[in-house]
Symmetry: C2
Subunit: 611 residues, 2 copies
């Protein structure tokens, strides 16, 4: 049925010897050179015939695995009413990456960057009874994100294709089941693509717990930092990573106060020109672990209840549009803004500017400290609670405090883990040493909870006729960057080395010169392979063998058959068979060639599919 076989001369595979100037990673270079993609504009790519064959193979693998877990494929529009995004609150919250547009009547629309709103709206209109739950829907569709700086080819483009699934459930147990199933489907998908992935715990915002997993691939240009354990399977995004503590926290104020009794009284120290932690350590002749580092942050759309802190206004009963927060941590550690954002249930946090710091702390930048700090909620990392006799900013120019004692000289509004874990820290599971990798996110499975079902008013009647709000999970997978990542993992200096499952063709047949007995043998082999459903590219071009070999290596087709007069001569005519990933070729009798090729293909495909 599918006309998968092709002569090179009739295809459109514009291979290149030179490397585009902006292609700094292997996949970008090779996808261009192999004629898989071309750039139409920054971050906008066209998949050419060769690339699109691999693309469609991935699409099919993803579709099969989604179907296998009972998720149902739908196709919502790419252009979605802005109204739905206003309902969910993301019209304002999403930022500049959301491509907003107006149609001829002046109505607002978005080019979907993700589809929580569309799926939620569709389910909202059909859902009435608990009997309809769970519902699991997915699409494989075009997405657009107006990235500030698209780069690395399709690894970070503006338009891309994503598989995104959304599930709806009556209870947490049911959501968890779907979440686990989805995780297993993702592992099968990546296995079938021969891609080594690292599933990591990720920031899960309001849901907490094990509700968010990112599927990463290691990448020198990855925009995620991953913490992995040398001794066990622990893996987490730095945004979420925790560690075993190298100190004893004192959460109890009673214990803190009694320990503080032995600390000398708080002392003001003039510290002209002492600002950085290094300068402070030198001045006080101590190390950074004695210093209480305190920073002022501006947080937007905070949903956490801050209580009755004066001067902080709530926007209706919803959220605080803009709030200042102080955060303190031990001097040798760094604050993790993602953890802080999640803790506050905020849209984002950023460091306060000089003016705001002066207004809040009455001191210039560099002299903020927890002692005497008023009118602002103070969050301290547990590391601060272990400092018995500390040094901190004195809330005035050129002033520091010495002998600052937790529980005696200051308390916190909240104690929470806001620490950035680093290589060398101890694994929270086994205490082993953590190390860092850079990673790119290929997929994300996420327990959304009721964020969208509440804001968009989705409900159903339970068995007792009571109105309930369903909870949701969402599950994304980027197709374009998955393909780029496969190439990152499977290539050498000469080109791509496709895993059999993702190869645009299983085999390339190269006649040294496409004429006479060589041509006849090539055509006969092609016909035999076609009958068996093998996808081949027959290089019928009038080019030198060296050019054909170079292109074959670049394009990365797993099996290469070379047919030449020399090997055909004699009683036992032979062809040369070589696997792209191997150095050596071997001679196979013409009469056995098809059988041998079919057997290699089948065994590799079976191997990848785990069958």
């Amino acid at each position: 049925m599918y006309n998968f076989n092709m002569k090179f001369s009739q295809s459109f595979i514009p291979t290149l010897r030179e490397v585009p100037a902006d292609a700094v990673i292997a996949s970008h270079r090779l996808m261009f050179r192999a004629g898989m993609i071309r750039k139409l504009s920054n971050g906008l790519f066209a998949w050419l015939p060769l690339g699109y064959r691999s693309f469609r193979k991935l699409e099919q693998i993803v579709r099969e695995e989604m179907d296998a877990i009972g998720s149902l494929e739908i196709r919502p529009p790419v252009i979605v009413p802005g109204e739905l995004w206003k309902e969910s609150g993301r019209w304002d919250a999403y930022g500049d990456a959301l491509m907003r547009l107006k149609n001829r009547t002046g109505a607002d629309f978005v080019v979907s960057p993700t589809a929580e709103e569309a799926f939620t709206a569709l389910v909202r209109d059909e859902l009435s009874s608990y009997r309809q739950l769970p519902i699991s829907l997915y699409q494989i569709n075009t997405k657009y994100r107006d990235e500030v700086r698209p780069r690395y080819g399709v690894m970070r483009g503006r338009e891309f294709v994503m598989k995104d699934a959304y599930t709806f459930h009556a209870d947490e147990a049911c959501l968890d089941e779907a979440y686990q199933k989805m995780g297993r489907a993702y592992r099968r998908i990546f296995k079938r693509c021969a891609l080594t992935v690292i599933p990591v715990q990720a920031d899960s915002g309001a849901m907490g717990g094990s509700g968010s997993e990112e599927i990463m691939v290691e990448s020198e240009i990855g925009d995620n930092t991953l913490l992995l354990c040398k001794s066990c399977t622990y893996a987490a995004n730095v945004e979420k990573a925790s560690c075993k503590l190298d100190y004893a926290p004192r959460f109890s104020m009673e214990i803190a106060k009694s320990a503080a009794a032995s600390v000398p009284p708080l002392e003001k120290i003039d510290t002209p020109n002492v600002k950085t932690i290094e300068e402070i350590c030198a001045f006080f002749k101590t190390d950074a672990k004695s210093f209480i580092k305190t920073l002022i942050y501006k947080a937007k759309n905070v949903e956490l209840d801050l209580g009755n802190i004066p001067g902080i206004a709530k926007k209706g009963s919803q959220a605080y549009p803009e709030v200042f927060i102080a955060a303190a941590i031990r001097g040798d550690l760094d604050i993790n803004e993602t953890k802080l954002t999640a803790l506050l249930k905020a849209a984002e946090v950023e460091l306060a500017n000089e003016e705001d710091i002066l207004r809040i702390t009455k001191a210039p930048v560099g002299f903020t400290g927890p002692v005497g700090l008023e009118g602002i909620p103070l969050i301290v990392d547990p590391s601060v609670t272990s400092i018995n006799d500390g040094i901190c900013g004195g809330l005035a120019k050129d002033l520091h405090f010495k002998h600052a004692a937790w529980g005696r000289d200051f308390e916190a509004w909240k104690i929470a883990d806001i620490r950035t874990v680093k290589a060398g820290d101890a694994c929270p599971l086994c205490g082993g040493e953590l190390y860092e990798k850079k990673g790119n996110e290929l997929g994300h499975i996420f327990k959304l909870g009721n964020k969208y079902t509440v804001s968009m008013n989705v409900s159903y009647l339970d068995e007792n006729g009571k109105t309930c709000v369903p909870i949701m999970g969402c599950y994304g997978l980027g197709l374009d960057r998955t393909i780029a990542s496969i190439i990152e993992e499977h290539h050498d200096d000469d080109g791509i080395i496709w895993p059999m499952s993702m190869a645009p063709y299983h085999v390339t047949i190269i006649p040294i010169k496409y004429e006479g007995a060589v041509r006849e043998t090539g055509d006969a082999l092609a016909a035999e392979l076609e009958k068996a459903g093998v996808e081949f590219l027959l290089d019928d071009r009038d080019e030198r063998p060296g050019v054909k070999f170079k292109d074959a290596d670049l394009i990365g087709i797993p099996l290469r058959v070379v047919i030449g007069d020399k090997n055909l001569a004699g009683d036992a005519p032979k062809i040369e068979l070589k696997h792209r990933k191997e150095k050596e070729s071997r001679l196979v009798s013409v009469s056995k060639a098809a059988e041998e090729i079919i057997s290699v293909i089948k065994s590799e495909l079976d191997n990848l599919s785990g069958e």
Copy 2:
């Protein structure tokens, strides 16, 4: 491989008894009621699981037929740089249906309504030698047109999926070959969908000849008028239709002048309050065939060389941005603006307003005539040349001319067919009677010529090293409206009647009650069918049989198996098998059921594919 089998309870098929208020055509009503689609906004629809299964079947049929003629699938982005549309000139020319947008850097983009620009740009960058030609590329991708008035469900939506192919050639013969192949592929596609289509000659703009064919389906709400011959196969869009003339035209001015010698001299007649053709006929006691109807048009972006007509300025050497044209035709006939537009190679023509008419003719509306009309090019339909002794407007209020003679009293700048052909006119091929139908366009194959390759500077070197510009063909096919059209043709009062090739499932298995022996028999049959690759929907819901039957009829699955205790009882247990398109069911022995079902499916699929 594909997990095509499904229990109804685990699917998401929200069938409805009521009809949406805005659904005025059968396909729109049934697609909603069968849970195939839902509306997100005016002209924006989501395909739900059931609908998307049929959608994907069509996609696959289209893909197979495109691949079979050697067209290569690619995937350009949906969002395309506005720059390319400015190069082609369509950024300005396309009108408000083009969704233009700006990204965060202020750069212009369009949401592709069609992809001549993107494909031309891709080929431009790769094409260097005649050896690479011909090139045939296609995509199946999302399109957006900001329709003024989207309606009839997916028949006229704003976002839709289109297969669009573009071919590039060195010469006309090669283009013609691709054009013919594409036409045959379209006929196979529609045959496989069991869709009755009418291929009609269409307006082909600058290319002329047989360079444009639209594939239509008859439709009461069609926005095209088709002229068909009762006696032969002639079929044309009214925009293009011609007819056998019922008069003898006099193209030769010599003949015209000599004939005019016997006509009485031109005479001015006062005609107060005589304006309409009926009033003129009554006043002059003659019929409309003696009247020379003359209209003034405003034409935009005229590319036809108008010569040295005073007062008409060219925009560079390119086109006349705005030109007034007079057009005359026999009083009983109407002018066809599409033909006029094509003749002028204009972007559009519209009737001039009162003010312009007054300025140009020195008379109010209703008194325009060809005699003495100056400073404006006059185009006459051949019908005018047959009027020996005519009546026409006198270029002054309440004035007409009598005895106006072609060749003596006026001449034309151009004689050309600008007549609107109507039902009752004679077929241009066989003279048979033409009749009218309303039609919707599903596909269009079109010889574009060098419109885009010239404006976008595409070139290659021919065998002699000479720089040449390739010519193009373009070939569109709307998937959404094709599906709607299949339903328009295949339904009854109870619901859809899917052709086997397009059915979301081949067979629905309905256990009267899904328990005991009935359930066992249903499950066993399902398992047997699954092994054979048959797609089935097992209605395992705890609903009354009537509800299940009604849903089955609505959804339109071709084969229905009913399993009940009564027919299972006894020595020869049976199931009931019914074809959706037939009234009667028949009993089939349980042991033969799968075999029988598989055989019906195979025979219907073979029949549609013509094998």
